[in-house]
Symmetry: C2
Subunit: 377 residues, 2 copies
């Protein structure tokens, strides 16, 4: 039977949340290019835009920021659960556990169902930063740093992670990284959020399911692998030959290629620009190696246009996070801190016009098999 | 754009685990009809069959039963997490939290990857019964009943739930109910298990995602709704008129209709037979009401063949569980105790020939939207 494995190219639904224009290397959130959002918006504003579908006025944004900040603290029992989890546990498993154990925040009965869903979304989005930072400190055996309400979502996250209030410049760089990862149409985790929520499971249970998909190394772990590759290369003088050898062996070079983009991933361009800025002030051990890998890949792949493959979002993000002194193990949780805004927007959209996801399976087993009694087997 | 909402009728992959033959009202697990399995097999044997693809010999089944039994106890930290969860939490949220917080069982390094995956599957399947029973007792504020190793999976579950070892007859009835719910091709939760595992997320994280989808009332909550309907009807003398009124209003009658079955759901037939047996010994307050609802529906719908709809698996299962003195809130966790075997089989199958699920989205938002500076909004 003919079918598309992994549902590649199969339309699974409609959305207004984002569009990946793979052919021209553009990504828009409800019509606005991420280039514009990265240069002019904030994570809070972009989240508001994703949830409400419009940009906020100054007054609306002030209220939204304050609501986000007020929702950062975790319930006591969630912190107790975290303390019970093994320190060696995969941080994405920790996030899944904690989000799953959130019961819905109590909402005002005077709100409409959509307004209540938005309120729940804000609560989860706000807490995701706290959960990711606490999970990191739990792993390291460090005391938790309680959230501050007078910092941006990005700045507060870096503060809870390290215990030090970041510079405005570093907070803004991280803020832009969060904007860039906020949504990307029907990737595996967003699709999971839509499938689970299509059964009318609750918002936090649906988000926990989505976290499960982002936990997989084929989805959320790619920027970790780029740094592992750079570690394996070891020094910049060996980078070019390493790439040539990898290409000769037809081995995978991490951070290159994407199922949707057929040209430069626009997020990679912005991340690279920020990495350049950061490195000009403070050296990064991965920077030279990755630049040579990048240039060698482009030069080599450019010789045969059909194999022309550009770096994706994961190629530079790991090095950038490394410059922000973030552990490699926290990269996928950070992806979650951003993408949860997109997941919530997709779930709200799914519920506006829902039908449960129940695809067909093509059965390739035997039509009939005999049940031989156990004494005769 | 033309697309199938909810992916109805769209083939999302191949499977040998089960086939729903909706036109003829048949369900087979790897070629063997569930009628045969319900009359001759056990949940443990059917689980072995799902995981290994063959029926076990007597010796293999003995080892498998013993391994299942040995894996029932929960790690201490999981019990501590459960104790921290609010008693009011949705029991499926509790199951998702606990499964997510399981770290992989340590497996022997001498095993192949597939063998390790099966070992992990057995550990999760065995523990699901314990988690569901403990979640029930946690909700009721009762002390946990530690698993016995000398009972069947079904019998031990009923024992952990009530604290009383069930009769052989009741244990067998529950065992058959577990067999009947073990798999059902690409329903929403199984599909979720496949999507999440396609990212190479771990087995327990993928199962936690699937639990999220089963938590939704459109998927896992249907048998609860049948009993709620019976409660609303109140007494058998009012049942016929209630159905006629519902049909006149075109209101939904719970427990009728299925996206796949176009005739009697074979599981409903078996469940009804067991319910008849149980009720002959001990009255059930739902029995007469449901029989009248059933007969009225068949008689009325039978008048217009295009609306001919048969009862599905959920119509009788709730009443049967009620006769087994199981709380309505535990129905969906029980569904999980059974379906986890199917989920594991599907995940193992997904990993044999994996491609990440990444469907396409049809963007219906604006092509371009202006970013008006906040001071001008």
């Amino acid at each position: 039977m003919e079918y598309s494995k992994g549902l590649a190219g199969v339309v699974a639904g409609e959305t207004v949340v984002s569009q990946v224009q793979g052919d021209v290397g553009k990504l828009i959130y409800k019509g606005i290019s991420i280039d514009t959002l990265a240069s002019q918006s904030t994570f809070e504003e972009s989240t508001y835009h994703a949830l409400y579908g419009v940009l906020p006025t100054q007054a609306q944004l002030s209220v939204f920021r304050a609501t986000m900040a007020a929702n950062r603290a975790l319930p006591v029992y969630i912190v107790e659960i975290l303390k019970n989890l093994p320190k060696t546990m995969h941080p994405m498993g920790i996030l899944q556990t904690l989000v799953s154990s959130l019961t819905g925040a109590s909402t005002s009965a005077s709100l409409s169902q959509v307004e209540q869903n938005i309120e729940q979304s804000i609560s989860i989005i706000a807490k995701m930063g706290t959960m990711a930072a606490y999970a990191s400190r739990h792993r390291k055996g460090l005391p938790f740093v309680e959230p501050k309400t007078d910092l941006s979502h990005a700045g507060n996250f870096l503060y809870m992670l390290s215990g030090v209030v970041p510079s405005a410049e570093m907070a803004r760089i991280f803020d832009v990284a969060l904007i860039l990862h906020l949504d990307h149409d029907f990737n595996a985790s967003t699709f999971t959020a839509r499938v689970t929520s299509s059964t009318q499971a609750s918002l936090n249970i649906s988000i926990a399911s989505a976290i499960g998909s982002l936990a997989g190394p084929l989805h959320g772990g790619a920027n970790e692998k780029v740094l592992q590759m750079a570690d394996e290369i070891g020094e910049s003088s060996k980078a070019k030959q390493w790439v040539l050898d990898a290409l000769a062996k037809k081995a995978k070079v991490n951070g290159f290629g994407h199922r949707v983009y057929k040209t430069m991933d626009p997020r990679a361009v912005i991340l690279k620009g920020m990495l350049d800025t950061v490195v000009s002030a403070k050296p990064n051990k991965y920077y030279d190696i990755l630049n040579i890998v990048h240039d060698t890949m482009i030069a080599e792949l450019g010789k045969t246009s059909k194999d022309y493959i550009w770096p994706n979002v994961d190629f530079w993000s790991g090095a950038l996070y490394n410059s922000l002194e973030i552990d490699t193990l926290d990269f996928t949780p950070i992806f979650t801190v951003s993408r949860v805004s997109g997941w919530c927007a997709h779930i709200l959209e799914q519920w506006q016009d829902n039908r449960i996801f129940r695809p067909a399976a093509f059965y390739i087993g035997p039509d009939s098999a005999e049940y031989i009694p156990i004494t005769a087997r």
